[in-house]
């Protein structure tokens, strides 16, 4: 690299690209240091699908309106109040102007949706998904003169007094040191570092699957925290869902989700039920089962359904195990057969009138006198063949991150770090204390990516 850059951006996902585009449009010379090879660029944004967006009237693909108050109330529901209200409202309020900005920079949205996800009012879905968004942003950024280095692993940011003095990274087997005027960290969480995850969660974390990129190992995050950068969030908090137990260790993404839980009973390895499978519909239920399964022996769960339920949920990537008897199914799944039959029969006996069964809404078809109860869709599991899926905890991203202010600037105890900003998952813990709201990660990334790009460019210029 012959010309020195004004701004180095660490990471190559949505937040990094929004920052790069914004800074380049403000006239800054920008370098993106992306750890992943080109084929895996984009971090977890590759696996995303939509953007949750406030709007006061129909906007792009979004219908009706979605007010700041409603959006904030939805966030409060999932985080149970663990959020920084000022930052959360900033993200929500800014989302409305983001959508036209996204379109102007190459992102295309789906006109409407089919399937089980009826979120046409609150969430705008990317045509082709997150990787197509990432592709569009890389094209736009590169047309603006942003330079991109793939397989460039940042190893250290030198924090001297109140600023980043230099950035060390390796590329093509060589070490490099650069001294940009400003740095933006947008390199995600640490969920792909199993050791760190295990330190935070304990031994069970070794059995967790990582739904997204294997490149989010939190190297820069750890480096900055070690040097006194202020952090937020709880290392044990993360977005975790229950996914197909046969999913790859890393990068399985959306296809490993299983939507069958409401129509099933879920047992642990001892063939015992442990939670109300009918508590709620997607997406609320989706986000709690990761933790429920993590708390079970060996961090596994087993979903049991019968043939009547097989077509009630989205197709799964791996076919279910199938057997004509419960005992056969138990044997295939490594469960105690007699105990599974006892559990299923106990459940079946507790099912009452199922005439009100309605798969797409909370139908109140509940068990009587069973612990734990099943409060909706409680229909006996009696019609062979029987089907089973295994469940494991799939981590999307971790919440421990860098604390930022409303200008996305990082700080130490002594005050702001003059030339360091953060955006995306690496600072999302500033807003999301726990829980998750579908499409909100992309909102945080887009809003704070643009803020970081604007602030860093203003500083560098």
């Amino acid at each position: 690299m012959s010309t020195p850059h004004d701004i180095a951006i660490i990471g190559g996902g949505n937040a990094a690209l929004c920052a790069a585009i914004t800074a380049a449009e403000a006239g800054a010379r920008v370098l993106i240091l992306e750890t992943a090879p080109k084929a895996y660029r984009g971090g977890n944004s590759r696996h995303t699908r939509n953007f949750r967006c406030m709007h006061s009237g129909p906007l792009g693909p979004l219908v009706e309106s979605y007010s700041e108050e409603e959006y904030f109330a939805d966030l409060m529901k999932v985080t149970a109040g663990k959020t920084d209200e000022a930052l959360a409202r900033l993200a929500i309020r800014s989302s409305e102007e983001c959508l036209p900005w996204m379109e102007a920079h190459g992102v295309r949205f789906q006109p409407s949706l089919s399937g089980t996800l009826s979120l046409a009012r609150t969430n705008a879905f990317f045509m082709g998904g997150g990787k197509s968004l990432v592709n569009a942003y890389f094209r736009t950024a590169q047309a603006l003169g942003v330079e991109v280095l793939y397989e460039a692993a940042v190893t250290h940011l030198e924090l001297a007094d109140d600023q980043i003095a230099w950035v060390d990274y390796t590329h093509e087997g060589e070490s490099h040191r650069i001294t940009p005027k400003a740095v933006i960290v947008a390199s995600g969480g640490f969920q792909a570092d199993t050791e760190w995850l295990t330190r935070a969660w304990g031994e069970p974390a070794k059995n967790f699957l990582i739904r997204g990129t294997p490149y989010n190992r939190g190297v820069v995050l750890a480096d900055l925290l070690d040097q006194g950068a202020l952090s937020v969030g709880d290392p044990t908090q993360c977005h975790a869902v229950a996914i197909d137990g046969r999913a790859p260790k890393f990068d399985g993404g959306i296809v490993t989700r299983l939507d069958c839980v409401p129509f099933s009973i879920v047992v642990n390895k001892n063939a015992e039920r442990f939670y109300d499978e009918g508590e709620d519909v997607w997406p609320k239920r989706y986000a709690i089962w990761g933790r429920l399964v993590a708390a079970q022996p060996d961090q596994v769960g087993y979903v049991i359904i019968d043939s009547r339920s097989l077509n009630l949920f989205m197709p799964s990537v791996f076919p279910p195990l199938k057997a004509d008897t419960l005992e056969d199914l138990a044997t295939q799944m490594g469960l105690p057969p007699a105990k599974l039959r006892e559990t299923v029969e106990g459940f079946n006996a507790a099912c009452g009138d199922t005439s009100g069964f309605h798969p797409t809404e909370l139908d109140g078809v509940a068990t009587q006198g069973l612990t734990p109860p099943k409060t909706n869709w409680a229909r006996p599991i009696t019609t062979p063949p029987f089907y089973g899926y295994s469940l494991r905890t799939g981590v999307t991203f971790t919440y421990l991150g860098l604390k930022v202010d409303e200008t996305a600037q990082c700080a130490t105890e002594n005050g702001p770090i003059r030339n360091l900003w953060a955006a995306g998952e690496t600072m999302a813990g500033s807003i999301l204390g726990q829980g998750y709201l579908a499409g909100y990660g992309m909102t945080i990334g887009t809003v704070f990516g643009r803020i970081a790009g604007r602030e860093a460019a203003a500083y560098a210029n």
Partner: protein, 354 residues
């Protein structure tokens, strides 16, 4: 049909069905998402709906090096070519021409030779213009069967396709809707209307859509030109050669130009495109076919410019020889894809309304 190709496409389709991010791109995905399990006929139908625009490949987070190793454009292209080979009648010819550009070239040279021989042996019988080289009756005697045989062959093939994909009785609304899709090549616009990802990775471009439209409309104009000549000849006693301001020329000259430039553009795009996202086996056959089609158009134009010169007899033999080869190869070369695509789009209309 080859079970390994079907098995691989089924594997990939099941992954796509669990993801659905590509929902808006083209007709393949809504058709795919309607199924939970994929019979062989379903997969053949999906394969024939695909235009190899590659939008889904570049949007896909599961392409290699990911272990799911998705490459849907390639898997669909392989099943598509395999299906055409299976349905073609008589079958061995399809296998030779779908995948072998050399066989197409050989057939074309054979076409030239036959026409040169015909000109020598049958001669002019006292005609004017082109008929001074080869009489009108001799041309009809050669080209009428060469035109009717492919039509019969394609009819057999399409009937086999229709049965395979479970097609129902045709209704006018299905057919008109399918023609609408073809006319605009909607599926090459990637849902958001910005074109496909054919020639330069994830960049969207209309180049292939426009080149293909030039070929299709150019071909239809040339075909209309020939048809109008036939009508003038038999209906009005007006014989070739026709002046510039006549129906055959007004249709044929722009048609020939569109077809010539369209085929050159298609070949150029094909050379730029990543071969790994298509059926590698079909590359030679497709290039051979494009070259033949382009030659038919260019030699037709040359014949118009050189019609009054001494070169006319030679150019006529080359042009008619190429036309002869093109007609006879139609059911077995890439030309057949137009018929299958139309059938697939009609079937898709039926499925949509079912």
């Amino acid at each position: 049909m080859q079970t390994d190709l079907i098995t691989e496409l089924r594997r990939q389709s099941e992954i796509c069905n669990a993801c659905r991010y590509c929902e808006g791109y083209c007709s393949v995905f809504p058709a795919l998402h309607r199924e939970r399990a994929f019979a062989e006929g379903d997969l053949t139908q999906l394969a024939n709906l695909c235009h190899n625009c590659r939008g889904c490949y570049y949007a896909c987070q599961y392409t290699a090096p990911h272990e799911f190793d998705l490459n849907l454009p390639k898997a669909l292209a392989e099943v598509r070519r395999d299906s055409w080979e299976s349905f073609a009648w008589p079958a061995p010819a399809a296998r030779a021409f779908q995948s072998h550009g050399l066989a197409i070239a050989a057939a074309t040279v054979l076409g030239f030779a036959l026409l040169f021989a015909a000109i020598k042996a049958l001669g002019n019988a006292g005609g004017e213009g082109f008929y001074a080289a080869l009489s009108h009756n001799a041309m009809v005697a050669i080209f009428a069967p060469a035109f009717l045989f492919p039509l019969a062959s394609i009819a057999f093939s399409l009937r086999a396709y229709w049965r395979h994909v479970g097609g129902k009785r045709l209704r006018l609304s299905h057919v008109t809707a399918a023609f609408g899709s073809v006319a605009r090549m909607r599926d090459l616009a990637a849902g958001h209307g910005e074109g496909c990802n054919f020639e330069e990775e994830d960049r969207f471009s209309h180049a292939r859509r426009y080149a293909h439209q030039a070929v299709m409309y150019g071909f239809l104009l040339c075909f209309a030109s020939t048809a109008s000549g036939t009508v003038l000849h038999y209906g009005f006693g007006l014989h070739a050669p026709y002046p510039f301001f006549s129906l055959p020329k007004l249709l044929g000259v722009p048609g020939g130009l569109m077809l010539t430039f369209g085929t050159i553009a298609m070949a150029w795009l094909k050379l730029k495109a990543d071969k790994n996202l298509a059926d590698a086996k079909a590359f030679g056959g497709e290039m051979g076919f494009i070259a033949l089609l382009g030659f038919v158009a260019a030699s037709g134009l040359a014949l118009y410019w050189l019609g009054g010169t001494a070169a006319m007899a030679t150019v006529l033999a080359l042009h008619l020889g190429a036309v002869l080869a093109f007609f006879l190869l139609t059911p077995f070369s890439k030309m057949a894809h137009g018929f299958y695509r139309l059938a697939a789009l009609i079937r898709e209309e039926q499925n949509k309304q079912a």
